[in-house]
Amino acid sequence: MRIVAPLVATAFLLLIAKRPGRAAGAAADPPGAECLACHGDKTMTTTRAGKTVSLYVDGKKFSGSVHAGFGCTGCHADLQGKDLPHDAPLKPVDCGTCHSTEKEQHARSLHGKAIAHGDPLAPRCVNCHGNHDIVPVKDPRSAVAALKVPFVCGGCHREGTPVSRNRLIPQANILENYSESIHGEALLKKGLAVAPNCATCHTPHLILPHTDPASSINRKNIAATCTKCHSQIETVHQKIIRGELWEKQANVLPACVDCHQPHKIRNVFYSQGMANADCMHCHADEKLLRARDGKSMYVSVGEVSHSRHNKIACSQCHSEVNASRVRPCETISRGVDCTSCHDEIGKQYTASIHGQLNGKNDPNAPTCKECHGTHGILGKQDPQSSTFAVNVPGLCARCHREGQKAAVRYTGLQHEIIGNYTESIHGTLLKNGLTVTATCTSCHTAHQILPRSDPASSVNANNVPDTCGKCHHGIEEQFENSIHAKRVSGYSKPLPVCNDCHTAHSIHRTDENSFRLNVMATCGRCHEKITETYFDTYHGKVSKLGYTKAAKCYDCHGAHDVLAVTDPRSHLSRANVAATCGKCHAGANRRFAGYLTHATHHDPSKYPFLFYTFWGMTALLLVTFVVGGAHTLLWLPRAFQMRRELRAAEAKFAAELEKPADKKEDTNA
């Protein structure tokens, strides 16, 4: 409001000022005709302070000016009622007679104060607005028309001018930077008259240094100044800045200009606030300890300067410092709040299980710094960063490895998470340096980590296909059209998602033997009966023996595009089944596909011919064995009798013979 009020006032005054102009237009006598009798002469001059000054007044311009209706004496008040030609010199014109607000603002402004100090470089009304040819500011001919303002100001505030050389102005190349900024480009190159010029931010008359709390460009007021045009900017900044704090607690947030440099607004970072050197005055000391608990308060300059935040000043994170104190940090009442800048991520974290635990002051809950570090923080693209893809599993392992604090309190079914992941295909690829493979955060997200029971969790059963589909998009598309997708089957019971078949952490390549041999048990968890009968037929039997080439469930039914066999698109539909068999059995025809891959001989109603064949064969076996067995058993007593007789005869014979061994050998044979 501080800025808007004078503007409204100015506009109002301009409106009033027009009235006498119109009245004058109605009068026949051209304004100031008497004065122009002399001042209409272009050669009329006078000498002031040794300089020749023209006293010519362009009557045409004056009659076209906004002040024409007032005549000469309207401004040159000391001529009122004087005889002409008048005595020279006249008093300086006081615009404030009519423009009292502007006069008052100008007097308070940097420019006004400089005049009061007698600064010869300080601008007065006439330096910006001109004199006899003043037209409304909206008129393109005006000296202070929007498009001309940068040059009016730039007349002094550009490189090489006495002002820029002799006065302490913290910004350099102001006009040049402005003309290349997005604002300058819009105004000067594209003619967008509403684009901000100097006066838009600095105000036309109440120009104050940024250190002045009343200044439109003071840190506290910057947001209000910018939001005059960029209203609702907080809504587009919410990923980076907690926008609403601009109004509530502007001091904890970076001001617009912290990120968007004044005069060269191009998303360029710009460090401001308290100088880091002031902090390092104490914190560079390696022995610096906190009085409260003896914690080291040493900050390594090298660490900070290599970090991602090396352009951010200490005081931007450690807000609440007060530069006017001897120890500026003594006003700090709380730790660093990363969410001041990383607002969206902060919200995600707060909702996550880590954030929830932190909210309950759980000592095990990780905060930002547990994962990201502090002064040495690096971006996730930096291979040295703890959040670089290759380092993520190790980072999470600090708590989630078996025996560590997170693993200890975990009650779910996933164990040896880190070990299993490392052995998995994702872990193997990561070990080989493929940074785009899935790490912990790829599935669990970095900041929105939630237990899988939470419907909002990225690993909740309903969201798993989407999560995996981020990388395995083609697979997800197939899956979403398969019978396993709720949308397709309309089945109310829980349906399998990626991890039900592939597991969560120990995911292996599907062409590995272990996967191929275990998949029947996997499918069999739900498809119990059909899996049992699969093992009654050839494919199942040889699979049981560890033969990986024999057809497994998905070789026939499809893996992700599995559909009911009654669906014409199914691999096993009438039209497709022969081709499916043909993948292994070259030349397979429709009749070949009539082989019953899930048949059992125990079901007389479904497979009568198998049932009766089996029992026919069983009967044959039983009869044969019973007859053969009985014959043998009946024989045994006689056979033993024969053996005894034989041995007796042998013994008798041996007694008669000198060399019984020879004989015995033969009879045994």
């Binding site: 093992f535 049981k544 025809n589 009749r591 070949f592 064995f625 045994l636």
Partner: protein, 281 residues
């Protein structure tokens, strides 16, 4: 008999070719049984271990099919041998099939069977068996039956694409059952009844190696096959069927092989019994 020179000469019961065929059949049959049963009882731990020992299922499959080819070879060679025998000794198929010494069942076999049962129960003497007893003939034709049934069904499983050009696919499920159960019958019968009948009878225990050496002591022939012995003595052809016995090293080698075959056979029987009783599904 007391003469040691005579004692070393033995009666020749099997020709060299017959003995070779029997050994080939043992090797191929054991191979078929081992590899086939791993598949039949794939759900037992036994099968998985055995399959692994055989070099994995795929290898087991190659062994099975190679052994099947050997078995077919044995079968065909025997038929050719029969044809030559017919030309050499009988002249006509009729003479071969119905003449003395034929393998075909005849009325005397029925009589001997009844006589045997009577002998078993102590109601008569041991029949005077001839060259082939009825149980030997049964074993012989069981092989014919087995090769026909197991062999033909095996071929449909070996070449399913070819057979389903003119047979329905579900018939493969039927032939699987027949192949598998008939093989179970064959292994079960061979490794129990056949082993007992011809090798393990107490009076011949631990084994009768006649089928490997082709020779048997004359007194054994006299005791075991009295009618054949008498016929040979009567016709005076006995002497031309006598040959020198093998050296002990040969018989020892044969015994080692036979022991191995017995061990495999009995292990298979035990495994089958275990699988049928405790793991059947």
């Amino acid at each position: 008999m007391a003469n040691s020179a005579v004692a070393k000469r033995q009666f020749v019961r099997f020709s060299r070719l017959q003995r070779i065929l029997h050994i080939c059949m043992i090797v191929s049959f054991m191979s078929l049984a081992l590899t086939g049963l791993t598949l039949k009882f794939s759900y037992t731990k036994w099968a998985a271990v055995l399959s692994h020992l055989l070099g994995g299922f795929e290898n087991a499959g190659y062994i099975h099919r190679t052994a099947a080819v050997v078995m077919f070879g044995v079968f065909v060679t025997h038929l050719v041998d029969l044809y030559k025998l017919k030309k050499r000794e009988h002249g006509t198929w009729r003479a071969l099939l119905l003449g003395p010494g034929s393998m075909t069942m005849n009325r005397r076999d029925l009589t001997e069977f009844v006589g045997t049962l009577k002998w078993f129960v102590g109601r008569g003497p041991r029949p005077a068996y001839g060259r082939w007893t009825y149980w030997e003939k049964f074993d012989y034709f069981a092989v014919f039956w087995g090769i026909a049934v197991i062999g033909s069904t095996g071929l449909t499983l070996w070449f399913p694409v070819f057979f389903t050009r003119f047979l329905p696919g579900w018939l493969l499920n039927v032939t699987t059952i027949i192949h598998s159960d008939e093989a179970l019958l064959a292994t079960g019968f061979i490794f129990t009844v056949h082993f007992f009948n011809t090798h393990l009878r107490p009076e011949k225990f631990p084994m009768d190696i006649t089928v490997f050496t082709g020779r048997m002591p004359l007194e054994e022939l006299e005791r075991d096959k009295p009618r054949e012995y008498e016929e040979l003595v009567a016709s005076g052809k006995l002497e031309e069927k006598m040959e020198e016995a093998y050296q002990p090293i040969v018989t020892q080698t044969i015994r080692a092989f036979a022991w191995a075959a017995l061990a495999v056979g009995f292990s298979i029987v035990l495994w089958i019994i275990y699988a049928m009783l405790f793991a059947y599904r």
